[in-house]
């Protein structure tokens, strides 16, 4: 009796595992197509866990042509009422082409008023920069910008 029951349980577990894998890869597939570097993909995966990454709500502003990547003004905002019931919990910035993809993470509260943040980042090369927002309902939203980064002429090193 117990042997038959165990077999049934394994069968259900198997099916559940497969369904989960299917679900995760369904989420991963579009990411794989969008995020070029594996480290960036891993960093994004760590942030969102097994949740879906939706597009929208987030506005990321970076200059289209960056004269020098050592200091780049980055503005990010999320369209959100910022109330106790519905607010932005966190905003993460990921730079695909940097030696370390995580750049900056901000953690907000219902007392923040807005989800508008400005900071200054380093961009190692022309690359895609992501802004991922986590809302209080557990959902994740993203926006990305493709940047073009040039370097200055006549530096110290040849």
């Amino acid at each position: 009796m117990s042997a038959i029951q165990t077999k049934k349980n394994v069968g259900r577990r198997d099916w559940l595992t497969q369904a989960l894998l299917l679900g995760v890869s369904f989420c991963l597939q579009p990411l794989l197509a969008l995020a070029k570097k594996p480290e960036a993909l891993e960093a994004i995966q760590k942030i969102i866990g097994s949740n879906a990454l939706n597009e929208g709500k987030v506005k990321l502003v970076l200059p289209p042509l960056i004269e020098n990547g050592n200091l780049v003004v980055l503005k990010v905002g999320v369209d959100n009422p910022m109330t106790e019931q519905n607010y932005v919990k966190a905003i993460h910035i990921i730079a695909e082409g940097n030696p370390l993809p995580n750049v900056f993470s901000a953690y907000l509260t219902p007392r923040s008023g807005t989800a508008n943040i400005t900071t200054r980042v380093r961009l190692a090369e022309s690359q895609k920069v992501w802004a991922i927002a986590q809302l209080s309902d557990g959902s994740f939203w993203q926006s990305s910008v493709q940047t073009m980064v040039t370097t200055s002429a006549c530096t110290e090193e040849p």
Binding site: N70, L71, V72, I93, A95, N98, P99, L100, N102, V103, F104, S105, A106, Y107, L108, T109, R111, S112, G113, T114, N116, I117, T118, T119, R120, V121, R122, L123
Partner: protein, 109 residues
């Protein structure tokens, strides 16, 4: 070994209750990434500010994590709701025992 540096806070000193105010916080720090090499070819170790928090009347209202990709002399501009008159405390912590504190008063009517 503990060290500190200058910090500058720019925010209004008065606001109406419920008004959203903008706070600009900037700290003096080279933010050595750990990805650079010196003249001899040796890697310069990472030395950055890791964390920034803002507390308003003792309650944490904003927090940020900095990674090497944050620019030198890191600046954050964020907002908060002016709820009551009081003190806002700002704290930065980082590698090598780095710690910096600053505060600002606000009068809320």
């Amino acid at each position: 070994m503990s060290k500190t540096s200058r910090t500058v806070i720019t925010m209004p000193d008065k606001a109406k209750r419920g008004e959203i105010i903008e706070i600009r916080a900037i700290a003096q720090h080279d933010m050595e990434t750990g990805f650079r090499y010196d003249q001899t070819g040796k890697r310069i170790p990472r030395d950055i500010i890791r964390n920034f928090t803002c507390s308003y009347g003792g309650v944490e209202v904003f927090k940020a994590d900095f990674y090497p990709g944050v620019g030198a002399n890191p600046m954050v501009i964020f907002t908060t709701i002016a709820t009551e008159s009081g003190t806002l405390q700002f704290e930065w912590t980082g590698d090598d025992g780095y710690e910096a504190l600053n505060q600002a008063q606000i009068t809320v009517t």
